[in-house]
Amino acid sequence: MTVTKDESGQEGADGQGDMPAGAPAGAHGYTPSGRRLERERYKRARARRAIAIAALSTLVTAVVLYMVVVSAPGWERTKETFFDGQYAREAFPKVLEGLWLNVRLLLICGVLVLVLGMLIAVARTLPGPVFFPLRALAAAYTDFFRGLPLIINLMIVVFGVPALRLQGVTVDPVLLGGTALTLTYSAYVAEVFRAGIESVHPSQRAAARSLGLTNRQALRYVVLPQAVRRQVPPLLNDLVSLQKDTGLVSIGGAIDAVRASDIIAQRSLNYTPYIVAGLVFVALTIPMTRFTDWVTARMDRRRAQGGSV
């Protein structure tokens, strides 16, 4: 406890201390005033205090959680069923093997979702009476697939399509599962794109039109590039979500990471493989989530600098 406090305090002090330490070298004959030094001393002390409080409260929370879980009446059984090292070692390679299917699904569905979502979003913004049916269809599509629970969509497509016994139509649960994912996610992504299109100020379109660009050219060269740029963070968010939902194709029997853990769990009546699969999914989404955060922060910074993109 004491060690944490001291070390953290030092680090905080270093970060705070950089500026005054470097100042005399660069500035021409500038020596920090007593007032400034006093302020910085106070800020350092405050930072040390804050870190100590954070460390203490984290520790207390962790200890309390641990006590609650361990002292639970069913803890011993739970530990055996969910945290068995033997089964974890057995499940891990199988889960990783299955994960390759999830990754492929993510990549292929991700591309399809972006393309389809963009087409639907553009269809919804087309002007003129000729395009009314297209607009109505696009609106109905997004309404329907955003409202339909993904799991039900999957069951209808994965079990319903093969039941029709159509000639030349696949019964492969992976392809059908991917189709269902694409249907649902393209509806979400279409709305993200549409929000982006609407967020571009009308004056941009007016400027493009006044240069003689047609409506379509204005959309393609002026509105869409800005819309897409702005919507990168929410789009990445949807892709993170898609990444984990690829696990749902296992309901059709495709051997992905979830199904691989399921097979072992069913055989051994031990749930550890599920925990392994869950952690693998989390590990897979973390880089993507961090990337999303980074992109968002970068764009916020650019906006704060006065850029309007």
Binding site: Q204, A207, S210, L211, G212, R229, Q305, G306
Partner: protein, 250 residues
């Protein structure tokens, strides 16, 4: 023939909901002349320009560009806009494109000019307006005055028949106004036909061949700059100009 007006408006009426912005506007713009639209905020100067470029659809009346009625619903609106350049108060540059791409977009995509040729002309124009080193910059790295000059270059790049300038200095810091107005003065020297809505009365007086005072949705008074500024006939014009003088803007 050469004296036939570039732009002619007759009995133009434009309303937004219940508010009548243009009641009955007549206007003639002769080739190689500058027309300044003056008047209080909300007197319809900007709306008039937007109607001339078909960004707004008029309710009644008619507008001709080079003798062709452009308010006819059968007219090709894109073709009309190709012949008119517009510079906006808020610049409206495309923030995701470099200065050069902003300028060459319309020549390349609308007029089918080859990239090399379009860029050459763009650089030439930039050079002339003192922006030669800004070709590859993004708009958000430029000052307001520089952005507005780029917007003027963008409008000129398609060699428009008529240039509409909508309060182009209203968003600029006072010390940047001069550099933009100099450009307009130079364009007048080259014979560009222009209509400008402005609050810069000194500039309007200096550069305009024709001054129109808009009030209550009509052109209340029109004439040469000397007539309108020196000897206004209408009481309302006199009052407007007095307020401007009191504010130290003339």
């Amino acid at each position: 023939m050469s004296d036939a007006p570039v732009l002619r408006m007759e009995s133009v009426r434009k309303t937004f909901g219940d508010s009548v912005v243009l009641r009955d506007v007549d206007l003639q713009v002769a080739p190689h002349t500058v027309t300044a639209l003056i008047g209080a905020s909300g007197s319809g100067k900007s709306t008039l320009l937007r109607c001339a470029n078909l960004l707004e659809e008029i309710d009644d009346g008619a507008i001709w560009l080079d003798g062709e009625e452009i308010t006819d619903p059968r007219a090709d609106q894109d073709a009309v806009r190709r012949r008119i350049g517009v510079v906006f108060q808020a610049y409206n540059l495309f923030p995701h494109m470099t200065v050069l791409d902003n300028i060459t977009l319309a020549p390349r995509r609308v007029h089918g000019v080859a990239r090399a040729e379009a860029e050459e002309r763009a650089r030439e124009l930039l050079e002339r307006l003192g922006l030669g080193d800004k070709a590859d910059a993004y708009p958000d790295r430029l000052s307001g005055g520089q952005q507005q000059r780029v917007a003027i270059v963008r409008a000129l790049a398609v060699r428009p028949r008529l240039l509409l300038l909508d309060e182009i200095t209203a968003a600029l810091d006072p010390e940047l106004v001069g550099e933009v107005l100099t450009v307009v003065r130079d364009l007048k020297g080259e014979g560009m036909t222009m209509v400008l809505a402005t609050h810069e009365m000194g500039f309007a007086r200096d550069v305009a061949d024709q001054v129109c005072f808009l009030d209550g949705g009509v052109v209340l008074e029109r004439g040469t700059a000397e007539q309108v500024f020196g000897d206004p006939r209408q009481e309302r014009t006199r009052r407007f100009l007095r307020r401007i003088v009191e504010a130290g803007r003339l």
